[in-house]
Structures are given as structure tokens and as C-alpha cells.
């Protein structure tokens, strides 16, 4: 059984315009030591997915349905007290902005010791030793000095290293990283990503990486989910999706990258923009932007506008697209009638 | 890109706005607005509503003085809320007094806003020396209390021009005194939000366009600082009404022939020992209700317009 199993997750926000469904039917699993990428543009619901795993969705949002099972415990029905034992301890989080996690008025050492003592019965001295060890692991120069420094005395890259050290503090099973390097510069970003990858491999820690950067996902993760308008539309091994995307949106997203085009030529853009969750198009939410709504024969595919596509399997990948489903069906029919 | 959407009208915009949404759900705000509007309408329609004209000496009979309100024995049917020491109908004089109080309150705030917003805008947008001079001026102004300024100015004017002149122009004098004394509140608030807006790219875009500073200040920056101006205005109106009442109570405000709520309270205060408590307590209650409703409205407005609380 997988370490983390999310099934049919449904998250809603009760707003004054009415209820908005931020996540629908999101299901995925994560094995021990596996690295999973969740990719999508803003408004796709990827951060909501990350936050709901630890039941960190706050009012007006709520988990309306589905199950999150971690190591045999159903997290979304767990009491707040029991949940706290999982949070930070067995599953920890890294945010985009380090200052969301770091308290500006406490020194780095105090914060790390406090965190350790909250979850374990150990002396301050022992906790400090562990903290120092973790700071060494994240390759911070002169770690002894850092323990007594305050967050504002450190640079952005250094802070993000501290955050990783804090995330590793209690030897978690899973780290959820929400855009961990977006706020950093390219060279620092590459270093932090490499560090995170090394540490996860060394300690056999699972990683859920939430990002909009397909380059980062392709370098770090083994499997990925592509999200669009609150739904997962494609999932499978990262390499396979990057090399041969099936869903028109994933294709569009990859083809839109400047590195996929000849310099000076037009980029392959996806027209339109992500719909608002409050006003989703009928059927497949991507259909107003999709180029494959019309069959090669010229007749329109009515299912796209009428029916939400279910997942169909192509090899190791699963895709939610009527066009792909039809193609597979055609292929199967051809094989059956030689 | 081809989505056809109709442009919402101004009314639809208001109906869909957060302000309206929050107003619909806030009973206190609704009640306060209702009371405030009633008071304002009643005050400004006082010549139509009031049974007598308290400014007209012919309608006053000194023999009717100190009649109690209707629920107390000895009341006169003609005077629902009783009469004051001069025999004026209390209900009429309160209506007229509220009008004077509101007039001074609004007038003073208008003057404060005019000076404060202009200075704040200039200090915030132009910065440097202009900012330093204007803000030190504001600091100096703030270090004198409103009452002190009013007492000194009032005394000087009375001494030089005579008290008849002062009484004649009392409303304008009070507007000037309270207006001049409190402009730094506006200047500081506006300056702070101008500094925040100035850093935004739309201001840079306007500069790149080649617009003059004055146009950028009034056309681009000012409209975006209106929310805090609205909020502070409610508080300032309440403050101005109270300042006026305090000044009148001290005898530096409206003369008793054209009383405001403050001078009514003062006039009645002498009779509170002799049992005619209504002459001072009823106008006092009206003042409290008026100021309280404005302040509660201001609180609600501040919550609604606070961008940190507002998440559309």
C-alpha cells in the first residue's frame, strides 16, 4: 500500500458569489521515497491540493469530500490534536516565502529547538545538536553562527536552506514543497533544487513538489500530475509526460516554452486564459481553448462541451480527454478487426 | 478572447460590490445609517417639521418657560418635549440646534479635508523639502489642542471685533477654527497612502507618459487614496460636532439666540439642579445618538475598506 493515498478529494470555498469548487476528484498516491510533481498555472488548484493534505485549508474553504490516507490514518477526519502529531513531524511543508515559516523575532536556533521539543521529549542541548546537524546537511556556511542569527540577517537563498533544514528536522516521511524556489534567482534556485533532491534521496523522504516550472519538475520528480481548473487532467511518469504529452493542455503548456521553439519564430501559444473557478465551462473545462475539439474529419466532438472526461490509460499515463479516449477506442477496434 | 460580456452599469457595480454585500449583512451599520439619515433629514427640514420657529421672538412666551415633556405631569400639549428656560419649544430648538451642529461639523470637515488632502498629497508625492516643511507644520499644529486654539482665537476675535460680531459670524468662525485645527489628521493619512500608491507602477506609467505632476497627483494618485479619506471623514465629522459642542458648552461657540446642541446643553445645565433636567438631558441624548451613529458607521466603513481584511 502506498504511503499516502488521496482519493476523490473535493475542496470548496464558500464565497459570497456562492460555493466555488477549488478541487474536484483529485486522486493520487505517493510511495515511500517517491518524488511527485504537481504542475499547473495559477488558479489550477495546485496549492489548494497541497494545503488540504494537512487539512490546512482555512475558512471559507473546506474539504467537502474524499479521503486522504497517510500510513493507515485518514487525515481529513483526524482531530486537530492528532493531526498536529503528523504535521511538521511526519509530513512537513516548505513554502515559497521563507518568512511565512520563520518567526522574525526568534533566532534560527530557538525556532529549531522549539520545533523539536514540541514533538519530542529531549533536552535543549540535544535539540541544539540535532539542529546543528541539520544545518550542516543543508550546507550552510558556518552553521554554528547561524543558530544565533535572526531571519532578517540572512539572504533569501540562505533562508530557504534554513527552511529545508527545519523541514528535515524531525526526519519526516514526506515533504510538501510549494513553489520552493520561485522567489529565488536562477543560480540559487538551481542549487536549492539540487540540494533538496540530494537530501530526499539520501534520507528516502517522499517529496510533493508544487510548481509552475516544467523544467524544475522534469529534473526533480519521478511522477507528475498536471492540473487544470481544479482537476487533474494528466498523470504519470514525469519523463513520459514531458517527452510525449497526451492531453492538449499539457502539450500546449510544453510547446509554449521558449526553449521548445526556434529562436525568433512565433511561440506556440495556447489561446485564451484559465477560466475562473466560479464560472467553469461545461464539459471539459479546457474545451474553449482546445484545438482538438473538431475531429480531423471536420465534425465537432460534442462530448467535449457536454461531458466531463474520465481518465483513460495510455501506457503508464492516465489522461482525462475525450480526444485521447476516442483515439484509444479507434485503435482497439482496429486491433480487434484485423 | 471572443467572450462577449456586457458592461455592468454603475448601479450593478454597486450591487455586486463588497461594500453593499457587507452592508446588507451588518445590522448595526444599517441601523446607524437609518438613524443618521433621519437626524440629517429632520435637521435640514427643521423649518418644515418644527411646530414653532425658535428664532422668531414673537412666537416665544416667557410664561411658558421650563414646561416638562409630555410624559410628566404639568406638561403642555403644545410642547411635546417641554420648553427651555426662555420658553422656546424644546423639540423645535433641538431640530434647529442639530442643524447648526451638523452644518458646523460638515463645514469644518470640508475645510479640513481641503487643506489636509492638498497638503498631504503634495507632501507625499513631491517629497523632499516640501514634505519636510508641510509635515513639520502639521506637527506644530497638532501640538496645540483644538480647544486651546479655539479659545485663543475666539478670545482675540471677541476682544478686537466685539462679541456682537462674533455672534453674528459664529458658524463661520467655528468652521474656520475647527477646520484649521484638525487638518493634520487628513494630511497625515493622505500622505501615508500617497507614499504607498506612489510606489506602484501605474504612477510610473503616468510619468513615462509625460504627464505633469499636478495631473498625476489629482487624476491618478488622489482617486486611489479615497478609501482612507472616507473612513477618516466619518470620524472627523463626529469629532468636529463634539468639538463644537465642547466650545459652545464653554461659551465660546454658538450664542444662545442661535443655539447648537452644545449651547443647548450649556443653557440647560444651569437648571438641572432646579429639577428641569430635560432642558439639558434631551439635547445631550440627541448629541450622543448622533455622534455614536456616525462613529459606528465609521467603524463599519473602516472594516469594509481595509484592504487587508477585504478579500474579494
Amino acid at each position: 500500500m502506498a504511503l499516502l493515498e488521496v482519493s476523490q478529494l473535493d475542496v470548496r470555498f464558500a464565497l459570497r458569489q456562492g460555493e466555488v469548487r477549488a478541487l474536484r476528484d483529485v486522486s493520487f498516491t505517493l510511495d515511500r521515497g517517491e518524488r511527485l510533481g504537481i504542475v499547473g498555472e495559477s488558479g489550477a488548484g495546485k496549492s489548494v491540493a497541497a494545503f488540504s493534505l494537512l487539512n490546512l485549508i482555512s475558512r471559507p474553504g473546506f474539504i467537502a469530500g474524499g479521503r486522504i490516507v497517510f500510513d493507515g490514518q485518514t487525515l481529513n477526519t483526524l482531530s486537530e490534536r492528532k493531526l498536529r502529531k503528523v504535521r511538521g513531524n511526519r509530513i512537513s511543508m516548505i513554502f515559497q516565502d521563507p518568512m511565512m515559516t520563520l518567526n522574525p523575532v526568534l533566532s534560527i536556533g530557538e525556532q529549531m529547538v522549539e520545533c523539536l521539543k514540541a514533538h519530542r521529549r529531549i533536552s535543549s542541548k540535544a535539540a541544539r545538536a540535532i539542529a546543528l546537524d541539520k544545518l550542516r546537511q543543508v550546507q550552510i556556511p558556518s552553521p554554528e553562527k547561524r543558530l544565533d542569527q535572526y531571519p532578517h540577517e540572512l539572504s533569501g537563498g540562505m533562508r530557504q536552506r534554513i527552511i529545508i533544514a527545519i523541514a528535515l528536522l524531525l526526519d519526516p516521511d514526506i515533504i510538501i514543497a510549494d513553489e520552493p524556489t520561485t522567489a529565488l534567482d536562477v543560480t540559487i534556485q538551481a542549487e536549492i533544487m539540487a540540494l533538496l533532491l540530494d537530501l530526499c534521496e539520501q534520507h528516502n523522504v517522499g517529496l510533493i513538489l508544487i510548481t509552475h516550472d516544467l523544467g524544475v519538475v522534469s529534473q526533480v520528480t519521478q511522477r507528475m500530475l498536471v492540473m487544470y481548473a481544479g482537476r487533474v487532467i494528466e498523470q504519470g511518469p514525469t519523463r513520459e509526460i514531458i517527452n510525449d504529452p497526451q492531453h492538449p493542455y499539457t502539450q500546449g503548456l510544453l510547446n509554449a516554452l521558449p526553449q521548445m521553439a526556434t529562436p525568433g519564430e512565433k511561440l506556440n501559444q495556447i489561446r485564451g486564459s484559465m477560466p475562473s473557478l466560479a464560472k467553469l465551462p461545461s464539459g471539459c473545462a479546457f474545451h474553449p481553448r482546445c484545438d482538438f475539439m473538431i475531429r480531423p474529419s471536420g465534425e465537432p466532438r460534442t462530448a467535449c462541451t457536454e461531458q466531463v472526461p474520465g481518465f483513460v490509460g495510455t501506457g503508464n499515463c492516465r489522461v482525462a480527454c475525450h480526444m485521447v479516449a476516442e483515439m484509444l477506442e479507434d485503435r482497439r477496434l482496429k486491433e480487434e478487426t484485423p | 478572447m471572443t467572450t462577449t460580456t456586457t458592461t455592468p452599469s454603475r448601479w450593478e457595480r454597486l450591487r455586486d460590490s463588497y461594500v453593499w454585500y457587507s452592508f446588507k449583512r451588518d445590522r448595526t451599520a444599517q441601523l446607524c445609517l437609518a438613524i443618521f439619515l433621519c437626524l440629517v433629514v429632520a435637521a435640514f427640514a427643521s423649518p418644515l417639521i418644527a411646530p414653532t420657529d425658535p428664532y422668531d421672538l414673537r412666537q416665544i412666551d416667557i410664561l411658558d418657560s421650563e414646561l416638562p415633556p409630555f410624559w410628566i405631569d404639568g406638561a403642555d400639549d403644545r410642547y411635546a418635549l417641554g420648553t427651555d428656560a426662555q420658553g422656546r419649544d424644546l423639540w423645535s430648538i433641538i431640530l434647529y440646534g442639530t442643524r447648526v451642529s451638523l452644518l458646523i461639523g460638515f463645514g469644518a470637515v470640508l475645510l479640513q479635508a481641503l487643506i489636509g488632502v492638498t497638503f498631504g498629497l503634495m507632501a507625499g508625492y513631491l517629497g523632499g523639502r516640501v514634505d519636510a516643511i508641510l509635515m513639520r507644520l502639521a506637527d506644530i499644529q497638532l501640538s496645540f489642542s483644538t480647544l486651546m486654539v479655539a479659545i485663543v482665537v475666539g478670545a482675540v476675535v471677541k476682544a478686537t471685533m466685539g462679541s456682537a460680531f462674533y455672534s453674528q459670524y459664529a458658524v463661520i468662525m467655528l468652521i474656520l477654527i475647527i477646520g484649521l485645527a484638525e487638518w493634520p489628521q487628513y494630511a497625515r493619512t493622505v500622505r501615508a497612502s500617497v507614499l504607498a500608491e506612489k510606489g506602484k507602477e501605474y504612477v510610473d506609467a503616468a510619468r513615462v507618459m509625460g504627464l505633469r505632476s499636478r495631473r498625476i497627483m489629482f487624476r491618478h494618485v488622489l482617486p486611489n487614496t479615497l478609501s482612507p479619506i472616507f473612513v477618516i471623514s466619518t470620524v472627523q465629522i463626529a469629532n468636529a460636532i463634539i468639538s463644537e459642542a465642547a466650545l459652545s458648552f464653554l461659551g465660546l461657540g454658538m450664542p444662545e439666540t442661535h443655539p447648537s446642541l452644545g449651547s443647548l446643553i450649556k443653557a440647560g445645565f444651569d437648571y438641572i439642579q432646579s429639577g428641569s433636567w430635560w432642558i439639558t438631558l434631551i439635547p445631550g441624548a440627541v448629541l450622543v445618538v448622533l455622534v455614536l451613529s456616525i462613529n459606528l458607521l465609521g467603524d463599519w466603513l473602516r472594516d469594509v475598506m481595509n484592504p487587508r481584511l477585504y478579500k474579494g
Partner: protein, 351 residues
């Protein structure tokens, strides 16, 4: 596109045509010490004036030829945005000169600058902040036209607004609505329309696509490239994203801590980066195709621009730095292929 542009407009070096924009020895310092009273300190019983500065740019020389897209890349704090804002007159330089079409513009009064405002426009990074929230789209787009063409009739202005809205792919019916009713990509289109409304010839774009989603980035980049082709625009394009540069730029200037360390044509730079910093920067781009990239690891982080390092600003993080790098500031030296590199190692031939 670049090939077309090259055919139409002669390259400056080939026949000596004057560049559209020349930046010479540009420096910009920002005071950290507040106003005069804040600067006074007591030191050893004496009152002294103490000032600290951020050295945002330190002696930048750049030429921009007509019709080209010069990209300035670098990490945060390298001064690339300061260059853009100084060129546009939003900041006044501490030292140095800026010449536009042969005339010096950095010291002009705002009135004398007005004719240039029509010729050079700017696109900003954050589409959520660059549109005045209290103005409708129509008002936003009409404002520059009314300012620069006061003689135009109402109908002429409205016609022009409609044309420019169509040219950036927004529905002219949206004019009555406000900026916040639109998505980031649509707002950036409106901001581009505002810049294009006065028919400029030169556009400074400060990270115009950084705040946008991937699929929208492609749309906006395409729009900028179309506009360049149709209107023969010259761009100064500021970005931190090298993948965009590779696609968009004619030439690239790499900046580090307020100085330009390498200027080259895009193809040359990506093919054969010379400066050690450029090499590190290029190796750090997350590519889709390679699994485990071997990026060049730089030690340490960018120093603060308050106390600049002596010698080459990059020496603290450079794997090839020697004693000379720590003392002597390298100059931009032109290589045989026209690339200009500021590095002692390259100059001495050890790199």
C-alpha cells in the same frame, strides 16, 4: 524575425550608423541614510555627516541599434531595472550620460523631455499594479493620446484607441470596464496597448512577462514580437529568464552587481559564453530534456551593493579568480567576434 530586421536596418558596426540609444558611464547611487538630520552622527565628540549608498549601477556602457531587441539579463539586485528606469527618466543618473538619437536626454526638464516621451515608451512588470484601478480601460488608453495629440478631435482619439486595442487582441467593447475585471494576461495586453498608442519607436520592457503564467507568457511574447515586426520597434528588454532571451533577443547584455560583464549577439552568447558568470547562469536554466543537469555551482551569494567588492565584482564567487581579479576592475574588451567581455581571465587567455 531578426534576420528580417537585419536586412531592413543596417547593423551599426557594418556601416557606422548611429545607435538609437547610447548609455555612457552610467552610475546610479541611492542614499540609505535618510534626510540631512538623519545623516548627522557623533563620532569621537565631533558632529559628522555620515552617508551610505546603494550602488545600483556602476559605470554601464551600452548601445542599442535601431530595430534590435537588446536583452539585459541578471539576477535580482544586479541593477537591470535601474538601467531601464534611468533610461526612461524615472530616475536621474548620479553620473553618466544617455543619448537618444544623437541628443543627450538625461538632464532634460520634463517639458523638454515631452517630445521624447512620445518616441519612447515603457511596459512594466506587474500588470496588476500598472493600470490605475480607478480608471476605465478607455480612459487609460485615451490619456496618452490626448496629452501628445492635443489637436486631435474626439473621434480621432476614439478611433485610435479602437485600432490599438484590436492590434493587441483585446475587444474594443471592454473599454468601459476597469482593469481589475481582467486576468493578468489581458491586463498586460492593455498595458502594451497604452505603450503602443502614441506610436513609439523605442520600448523599454521591464520584466513584462515575469508575473504571468506559462501559457500567457507565450501569448504576450508573441504579441511583443509581432509589434516589433509591424512597427519596426527597438526594444530594451529586461528579464531574468534566459530561455526568453534566447528566443527574443537580438543581442544580450549580462549584468552582475551593477556592471555589464558580457555583451554578445544572442546566438554567440548561448553558443559560447565567455564570462564565468554567464557560464554559470546558462548552466542553471532548468531544461526539459536533460535528467540530471551538471550546473556550475557558484560559492556564496551575490554581495550587497552597499559595500562593493574591490576589483572585479564577481571575484568572490568566481572559480577562476586570482590576485589580479581582487584588485583591478576589468574593462569590457571587444573580442574578435565582436563579443565584449569584462574578465581578466578571458583577456589573459586563461579561460
Amino acid at each position: 524575425m531578426s534576420a528580417q530586421a537585419d536586412n531592413r536596418i543596417p547593423v551599426r558596426d557594418a556601416d557606422g550608423a548611429e545607435p538609437l540609444l547610447q548609455i555612457r558611464g552610467l552610475k546610479k547611487r541611492f542614499s540609505l541614510s535618510g534626510d540631512f538630520l538623519d545623516q548627522l552622527r557623533f563620532k569621537k565628540g565631533r558632529l559628522v555627516r555620515h552617508q551610505e549608498h546603494v550602488h545600483a549601477i556602476n559605470g554601464v556602457n551600452l548601445d542599442i541599434a535601431r530595430g534590435e531587441a537588446l536583452c539585459v539579463v541578471g539576477e535580482s539586485g544586479c541593477g537591470k531595472s535601474t538601467v531601464a528606469r534611468t533610461v526612461m527618466g524615472l530616475l536621474s543618473p548620479s553620473e553618466g550620460e544617455i543619448h537618444y538619437d544623437g541628443a543627450r536626454i538625461d538632464h532634460l526638464s520634463s517639458r523638454k523631455l515631452l517630445p521624447y516621451r512620445k518616441r519612447m515608451q515603457m511596459i512594466f512588470q506587474n500588470p496588476y499594479a500598472s493600470l490605475n484601478p480607478r480608471m476605465t480601460i478607455q480612459q487609460t488608453l485615451e490619456e496618452p493620446l490626448r496629452l501628445h495629440h492635443p489637436e486631435w478631435s474626439r473621434a480621432q482619439v476614439t478611433d485610435k484607441v479602437t485600432t490599438v486595442m484590436q492590434s493587441v487582441g483585446i475587444d474594443p467593447d471592454w473599454g468601459k470596464r476597469f482593469g481589475h475585471e481582467f486576468s493578468g494576461g489581458q491586463r498586460q495586453r492593455i498595458a502594451i496597448a497604452r505603450a503602443l498608442a502614441v506610436d513609439p519607436e523605442f520600448i523599454v520592457a521591464d520584466e513584462p512577462i515575469s508575473a504571468l503564467d506559462v501559457s500567457i507568457q507565450a501569448q504576450v511574447l508573441n504579441l511583443l514580437m509581432d509589434a516589433q515586426r509591424e512597427r519596426h520597434l527597438t526594444y530594451l528588454f529586461i528579464t531574468h529568464d534566459l530561455a526568453v532571451v534566447e528566443h527574443f533577443g537580438t543581442r544580450v547584455a549580462v549584468m552582475y552587481l551593477g556592471t555589464v560583464c558580457e555583451v554578445a549577439t544572442t546566438a554567440t552568447l548561448f553558443d559560447k559564453p565567455r564570462h564565468p558568470y554567464t557560464q554559470a547562469l546558462l548552466s542553471a536554466i532548468p531544461r526539459l530534456k536533460d535528467d540530471r543537469p551538471q550546473h556550475i555551482r557558484l560559492s556564496g551569494e551575490v554581495p550587497t551593493p552597499v559595500n562593493l567588492p574591490s576589483g572585479c565584482v564577481f571575484h568572490g564567487r568566481c572559480p577562476h579568480a586570482n590576485a589580479r581579479c581582487k584588485q583591478e576592475i576589468p574593462a569590457l574588451v571587444t573580442q574578435t567576434d565582436g563579443t565584449r567581455v569584462a574578465c581578466h581571465g578571458v583577456e589573459e587567455g586563461r579561460l
